[in-house]
């Protein structure tokens, strides 16, 4: 199966992170084109393209932009969410490391569309070296007149500041990210108000995922119809699929949305290590419910996966072979969310902690007959009652691990 490289078209070039390389591949042409139009036309173009947010929720990008109030007296801020922390996800890492100007051009287009003059890249703290690559690319772009005042003599002013997080998964949630960027503990806010009404420093704010922003240069340059012709209806464009776990050729691959999951596993990623049998696939990062091998015959897009009872999420595909122990993975999942819960909401803090304790004792062989029922009760009764989805991101997958593989849990209790 041949990849369709739109976002990844530059990454294998020599010196791919350099401005010259980016320009020689048609870089910053889209910016020039965008600046010759009205900001509203860009919003309309993105609307026509059908672009849905690549961070996990799949919310239409143009609709999110349209929530920004018109003619508002406050500054509008644009934030690129580069806090890539969803286990199994490494696409933004590759995009920023290999092709930083793609993100910069995407931010310029988004900034122009929403009348912003200041952008931030909130990057996870562990990506210190990538933050430096971005800083260098920003300096190059500034030098060449793509950032700063009166960009390409259009009268548009825009600049970008890189802000390094410091090791916190919850900061990927947009209001926690904003709190963190304001220099506080990264604890999610009560919504509404949404960031579009009151975000960074109380100003209207758009938060877009790195990959979402990276789609914009193609959409503007090639036209929304071209983008919309890729993928399947309602799920347009290409998507970066991060394949990891027990496959022969793990990696980040670009395909149109709607690619069959089994093709990704067997053709693209070379099948399972040691020719073992497939047990299960986590399709969209650790927070998305697992698919058992017999459920894995699905298409990889927002709507098909929702219909299959799971989510595309960040498209972090984790492949599990017959050797994998589901109770062990469930325990690791519970530990992760218990570690990363910010502690603000009781259902999330206590629920993830309790799940960890129950799964630990089952795993160590001291589980009680009633423990499976206890786990299921926590997962169902504490769902949807915290400020952000972090707790649910534990409850949903753990519920599915236990429900779909209850035999493995029962075997440990007996």
């Amino acid at each position: 199966m041949e990849e369709l490289k739109i976002l990844l078209k530059n990454i294998h070039k020599d010196e791919s992170k350099k401005l010259e390389t980016y320009i020689s591949g048609g870089g910053y042409e889209a910016l020039q084109k965008a600046l010759s139009k009205k900001p509203d036309d860009i919003v309309e173009t993105v609307k026509k393209s059908g672009l849905r947010g690549r961070g996990g929720a799949g919310f239409p990008a143009a609709v999110k932009w349209n929530f920004i109030p018109r003619d508002c007296s406050q500054p509008v801020y644009l934030i690129a969410n580069a806090d890539e922390g969803e286990p199994g996800t490494f696409k933004d890492h590759i995009l920023m490391e290999k092709d930083p100007h793609l993100l910069i051009e995407g931010m310029l287009i988004a900034g122009y569309a929403v009348h912003s003059f200041q952008g931030f890249i909130y990057i996870r703290g562990e990506f210190a070296e990538i933050a430096q690559i971005l800083e260098q690319a920003i300096a190059e772009a500034r030098q060449a007149g793509y950032l700063g005042k009166n960009i390409l003599k259009s009268g548009f002013n825009f600049d970008i500041n890189v802000y390094r997080g410091a090791g916190s998964y919850v900061c990927g949630e947009e209001t926690a990210l904003i709190e963190s960027l304001e220099g506080k503990r990264g604890q999610p806010r009560l919504k509404p108000p949404y960031p579009a009404a009151s975000g960074l420093y109380g100003s209207p704010t758009v938060v877009n995922n790195v990959e979402t922003l990276a789609c914009l240069p193609f959409i503007v340059r090639e036209g929304p119809e071209r983008f919309a012709s890729i993928g399947i209806p309602g799920n347009t464009g290409t998507k970066l699929f991060c394949i990891s776990g027990e496959v022969n050729k793990p990696g980040c691959y670009e395909f149109p949305l709607g690619v069959p999951l089994l093709n990704l596993v067997y053709d693209v990623a070379g099948g399972i290590r040691g020719d073992r049998k497939l047990k299960a696939v986590i399709p969209g990062g650790l927070s998305t419910p697992v698919l058992s091998a017999r459920e894995a015959d699905v298409l990889m897009d927002f709507d098909s996966l929702a219909a299959a009872g799971t989510m595309l999420g960040s498209a972090g595909v984790i492949v599990l072979s017959e050797n994998a122990s589901i109770p062990e993975i469930a325990l690791r999942t519970a530990r992760f969310y218990a570690n990363e819960s910010c502690g603000q909401c009781t259902p999330c803090r206590e629920g993830t902690g309790k799940l960890r304790l129950l799964l630990e004792r089952i795993f160590l062989g001291s589980g009680e007959a009633d423990d499976i029922r206890r786990i299921m009760k926590i997962c169902t009764s504490l769902k949807g009652i915290s400020l952000c989805p972090l707790g649910d991101a534990a409850f949903l997958p753990i519920f599915n691990f236990v429900e779909k593989f209850h035999g493995e849990f029962e075997a440990l209790i007996r």
Binding site: K184, R185, G251, R332
Partner: protein, 158 residues
């Protein structure tokens, strides 16, 4: 205690943000850039520069995993033990490291050269198992590769 240069760097950095409080994370990074961690005095001094309370800044410092409030080794080893790395033997590598360094996860060697910590997903799962030493990623680890990395670091430390 912060050096004069660190204080200047913090004040300079604060000007980059529309809200000066945003500098609290960069300031904590600047403060720990010297000795690898921050102490009570550092927090007091930064809080003074930012005009916020000690308690509030301590709350911020304690929220983030990469802000260290106790000494770490000259080489701080962070091993990812999340699912994709675990499936490919991360726990085994962590045990090997504990044995080779003679310390437990969360500890540091007596000479202050190495400290070891297991961490959550580092976002490099296609090259699992993965670890970070200070700010550098080490990927597709095997036992052999691990021994080589440790040997070269020990050499550097001498």
């Amino acid at each position: 205690m912060l050096s004069i240069k660190q204080k200047d760097d913090i004040r300079k950095k604060a000007k980059e943000f529309p809200g000066h409080r945003s500098v609290s994370l960069p300031a904590l990074y600047i403060a720990q850039s010297g000795k690898g961690y921050i102490d009570r005095k550092d927090i007091e001094e930064i809080a003074g520069i930012l005009s916020i309370s000690y308690a509030e800044l301590y709350g911020i410092a304690s929220f983030y995993n990469l802000i260290h409030r106790k000494p770490i080794g000259k080489f701080h080893i962070q091993v990812c033990t999340n699912i994709s790395c675990s499936l490919l033997g991360a726990e085994h590598l962590l045990t090997r490291l504990e044995k080779k360094l003679g310390i437990r996860e969360g500890g540091a060697t007596a000479d202050g050269i190495f400290s070891l910590e297991s961490v959550e997903c580092l976002g490099s799962c296609d090259k699992a198992p993965v670890m970070m030493i200070n700010e550098k990623f080490h990927e597709a680890l095997t036992e052999k590769k691990l021994s080589r990395i440790l040997a070269s670091l020990k050499e550097k430390a001498e």
